[in-house]
Subunit: 466 residues, 2 copies
């Protein structure tokens, strides 16, 4: 299956061959996380946890089920989710008095508790997050990690004394995102979603999108400014320094297992996965190259090498199966292990180990004396190279246009927009592209709306989505 | 609230005061994990993960929802769970064709997949585990960590070529348990549950019980031998070396958040929690004792001390709030931080730091030059002392009796039993105690059944349960 010709089929083929997820579970769109896929996702979770902890977020875990009464308190929110939630109506042999919804996201689970937790300005900011699974009754075609019905994700929720403080939180979220994306070698761009496309209940929504090699965008997360849209119905108030009671200002930030889907789609090739070193379940695989007369010596050297790398904190797999080296290379290429180390009789004589990079295929040797720092250096070179390559691909897909005649396939288009919903819908309907929103970082623009021709003071981004 | 007088109320009071869990969530028995409680539970999960990984178990994550059709394949199993599962019947605005059950445990989610994963004896043993939340519609009075409706737990599932190999797995599980319990400073005992009390579908069940200070037992986990009871209905077969197709032999092992409940109940006192050092969210708290003229110097020394301890891998909290030391002591005693370190002007002059143990109240000084190894030594002494004290309490509650006249309150009783169900039920009904089962390690016994007086070749354990 070739990535360039048919990205969609190639993607599904790679996920299956590398055994990251098993879609044969008897409920459509609910896939089993196999050990290899779960390890990669747990490594991503680890980075998320590290960055959120470092910025003073506390990890919590809220119940999965939300009573219908709480779920329906914010009117826009329920309108947005009504058609895509799962309902628990019975327990044991009884019908429940109050139906329960499986969280599609946790605003309505958390905010009744926030109303109890927040009393005074001393309790603010409140910054919590959880890493859990969430449930959406997806009616479109499902696709591993990218569109599923049980979704692994993190959600952070914050409460602030003022809109300004909430805005500072959003700036912090953008900074956290840049660090996580760096580990994943994943370029992205931010746009403020249009009013008709924002999160149900939000004041505004920042969409976090990345572009797949087929030129389609994949939303990997979002950041929301709620103002007091939720704190009013949920009555989350605090007493300020003057004894006045005020509603808190809220934000949320969430990203899902789509991060893993994006990493696969971005970096892998026709031979299989290419795992960015920071999240690779195994960063190196050590393969002994034995002959009849040196089997024991070489196997022991390989074992010692793997042990040394592990002690130095490099996630290492020793593959000492009784199989031909070629078939081992093949297996680990599919799995996307970034660095392969081979050790044979001649390597031992020369005091070296032979390496092969998964990303470029480049081969060479490292001195056995400095094998751990050598492997670390190579891994950081691989990360840098994956990052650069992805960044180049990303940039090459950004195109600014001033006329619909110049719309080309597989590009993220930027053009002038008057800001009105009618033009937005007209554009989407005419060209089958989605309006992603206005660039997050304000850009000065003076020109005309590409759709209606009126004066425009902003640009908008549009693309085909995955 | 006093632990000795009223264990039940004391327990709930401590959980609330230490803010480990918030039971005000609007669904009864579904509590919110607050940051402090979740940190403690995550540390317990960390030990579980470490031991299971070290014994070759792979971590996976299976979907939450199980189709009714799969759920009902093993007849005993569904009979056991029919009255205590939650049913998802609707998604969006539609009624589902096949109802979905929220996992009460994951046999019926995993085994259809195992049937696909296991092909030949080369695929065995298959050893996987997951750490997830599970759901049971509990109708009894709920109690934080001990009896809840959304239960955080781990479950390991294994498949083997033979019953002997499955038995070896059970021995490994018992070994893993001993390591986890050591970290929690938690004594326990194992009994083979009676046939009328085993897990639905199991061939036999080993119950893992601990004894709370009020003399009631709390089941903290179980290990099950399934033989081929599940592999037959789920058709999990392998081809052996001779090309014959056989059913796999299966085991499971699981423990829940009751581990945390047991730790709280076992070690804490009237002042608050006492956290075993291995799982304490903060192992030490550093409190600067400032006076007017040395505020800056002492605060800086406290900060440096906390940083040094953290670098050495000791989970340390610096409490530099603007509050009286006494009120800080009080707060951290409630939270159960095992070791308090105070540093003031005189300590700095003497080159020491003053310590106070949470478990015994003992005070002393450690040289500032060797503060990290000193703190580590104290923490290991605290662990040893908690372990010993709990072990003593446990032993003091074990009593062997030969007549119902000698039944005393608050004891785990051991007595002769003929093995028949009728005697078992008669005993339970007459004395209001529960038969826990026969001791896991076979003991030679020749005597009489305490209930019917007939010859008995085994003993049985009985107690009041939490």
């Amino acid at each position: 299956m070739e990535k360039e010709d048919n990205f969609g089929d190639w993607y599904l083929d790679i996920v299956e061959k590398a055994n990251l997820s098993d879609k044969r579970y008897p409920v459509k769109g609910m896939n089993v996380w196999t050990p290899y896929g779960w390890k990669a996702m747990s490594n991503i979770d680890g980075f998320i946890r590290k960055e959120l902890d470092a910025t003073g977020h506390d990890e919590v875990c809220f119940p999965l089920m939300i009573p219908e009464t709480e779920f329906k308190k914010e009117k826009e929110h329920i309108k947005g989710f009504d058609s895509e939630v799962y309902w628990v109506t019975h327990a044991g042999l009884n019908e429940l008095d109050v139906k329960l919804v499986l969280r599609p996201t946790s605003e309505t689970a958390m905010y009744p508790m926030f109303a109890l937790w927040v009393r005074s300005h001393h309790d603010l900011p409140l910054k919590v997050y959880q890493i859990v699974n969430t449930f959406r009754y997806e009616t479109k075609q499902t696709r591993a990690f990218m569109r599923v019905r049980e979704i692994h994700f993190f959600e952070s929720h914050t409460c602030h004394v003022s809109e300004e403080d909430a805005q500072r939180q959003i700036a912090e979220d953008v900074d956290i995102l840049s660090k996580i994306a760096r580990s994943l070698c994943l370029p992205y761009f931010l746009s403020v979603r249009t009013d008709w496309d924002k999160f149900p209940g939000a004041y505004y929504t920042i969409g976090i999108d990345t572009v797949m090699p087929n030129g389609r965008t994949l939303q990997i997360g979002s950041i929301h400014q709620y103002r007091t849209n939720f704190s009013e119905p949920y009555e989350i108030t605090y007493e300020d320094e003057n004894g006045e009671h005020k509603h808190v200002h809220q934000t949320t930030y969430g990203m899902s297992e789509r991060l893993l889907g994006a990493v696969i789609g971005m970096h892998s090739d026709d031979k299989g996965l290419i795992m960015p070193p920071d999240i690779a379940p195994f960063q190196t695989v050590v393969i002994p190259i034995v002959s009849k007369d040196n089997r024991q010596q070489v196997t022991e050297a390989a074992r010692a090498l793997a042990a040394e790398l592990s002690v130095c904190g490099i996630r290492t797999k020793l593959d000492d199966r009784d199989a031909r080296p070629g078939s081992k290379y093949y297996d680990w290429e599919i799995k996307g292990v970034p660095l392969r180390l081979e050790i044979g009789g001649r390597d031992i004589e020369n005091g070296v180990v032979t390496f092969a990079r998964r990303d470029t295929g480049e081969k060479g040797t490292i001195s056995l004396k400095s094998v751990a720092p050598g492997a670390e250096l190579l891994l950081s070179m691989i990360s840098a190279s994956l990052r650069e390559k992805a960044e180049m691909s990303h940039m090459s897909k950004m195109e600014e246009i001033d006329s619909p005649d110049r719309i080309s396939e597989g590009k993220i288009l930027k053009f002038g927009w008057c800001g009105c919903e009618e033009c937005g819908h007209k554009f989407e309907d005419t060209y089958g592209l989605k309006i992603l929103g206005t660039p997050y970082l304000p850009e000065r623009y003076e020109g005309r709306c590409m759709i209606c021709g009126k004066d425009a003071d902003r640009t908008v981004l549009a693309a085909r989505t995955m």
